[in-house]
Symmetry: C2
């Protein structure tokens, strides 16, 4: 089984994703928020690329959510903080979500066989789900404005580490050079992910805007067992 990490949406060529399971990662904060909302009973997340598309997609009873420049979009019900998707208000509701990088990455992966959403919150469960599908895997880091992002690549390093552990007995897991380097980087930071995320550029930017708690929450490893999967233009919990 081959697992390749793709550094940013900018580098995702559609051909690389076909016939693969793609794990999309946007730790700060889109995939962390999607995982959280589904864990709290949202009936589905509809990721769309533009504000206009969000307005068109939203039906009565839906929650409109998302951000531009890390801030809530005017007229929307919620921003992109996972803490906004924890209350009873989200239970049973559909969420239409548009973010700067993460929702675009999900759409970029649309030619894949299966699309999963990964983050630190569900890393091990996400790796296990992808492994059980027995297809080659692409780990697509959303990045920040098409650039390589520290937090996404560190999470990719953890997920590749888990995949290699799962495939160890069969000695069947191969990764690309970026995957290897990210495994090394993850191992260097294992056990202190929160500190690493608070000091990286994406984490610092969010903390300055008052979202330090979001960064700390998103740095928690394996606290949620939900793995979102793309089904009919929506992210739903993967049924194991």
């Amino acid at each position: 089984m081959q697992v390749d990490v793709i550094a940013s949406v900018n580098e995702a060529r559609t051909v690389e994703l076909a016939n693969r399971t793609v794990i999309v990662i946007d730790v700060l904060r889109a995939t962390s928020t999607i995982i959280t909302a589904l864990a709290h009973g949202a009936s589905g997340i509809v990721p769309v690329e533009t504000v206009q598309q969000a307005k068109q997609a939203a039906r009565d009873g839906d929650i409109t959510g998302g951000e531009r420049n890390c801030k809530k979009i005017p007229g929307f019900d919620a921003g992109n903080s996972p803490f906004e998707y924890m209350g009873e208000s989200v239970y049973g509701k559909r969420v239409v979500l548009t973010t700067s990088n993460g929702t675009r990455a999900i759409h970029k992966a649309s030619k894949a066989d299966v699309i999963l959403a990964g983050a630190f919150l569900n890393a091990s469960e996400c790796a296990r789900t992808a492994y059980q599908l027995r297809k080659d895997i692409a780990v697509l880091c959303a990045g920040t404005q098409d650039e390589f992002a520290f937090e996404d690549s560190l999470c990719a390093g953890l997920i590749v580490t888990e995949l290699c552990r799962l495939g160890r007995q069969e000695q069947e897991m191969r990764t690309n050079d970026l995957g290897s380097i990210l495994v090394s980087a993850y191992r260097h930071h294992a056990g202190e992910i929160t500190a690493a995320l608070l000091s990286c550029s994406g984490g610092t930017r969010l903390a300055k805007l008052g979202y330090a708690k979001d960064v700390e929450y998103c740095a928690d490893v394996d606290t949620v067992s939900v793995v979102p999967v793309w089904v009919q233009q929506m992210m739903l919990p993967f049924a194991t």
Copy 2:
């Protein structure tokens, strides 16, 4: 001072390199070979992109060197192994060199203010030289066929680590997210670079072709103090 790492030639936009000191890295083996040849008294290295250009550039008394698919080019005097550039035969001679990735990366950097060649062999001295030039720095990993290469990025991690150490007192060194992640990856492998290079895809490929000794040699840190600099279409030793 800003130091940004660029993952591969493919991602080097000329605009990012202007007004900067660019450190080109092709550990296996172009920049390691250039450093070695200059340390052994070669009068200059002329890096060219194609075999045809090498033939045109070579004058009487020059050594023609290089590789395609890791192997010596038919009719050339030498391949791309650093061990071929150590003997007396290289002393006082000009070397016209063409390799698959490294010499192309040097040409890609041609809009930079200053171009230096870095590798594990001269990492600390290369960082010190770049730092003393007091310009923003781009570390350009040559990569392998336009793709991210483990060995180049690990060396970039070491050079950024050194640059951050040099700039620490003035708290003035900033790096991009890729630079940060490569510092982490380097720290994970510090002290066992040889093992890391022998097990990565580029090192494994060379070892299979009988060049394991080259990989081991290129993994030695700070054994050579020469820093090649691009002057008038040639790499010469930087005069400190």
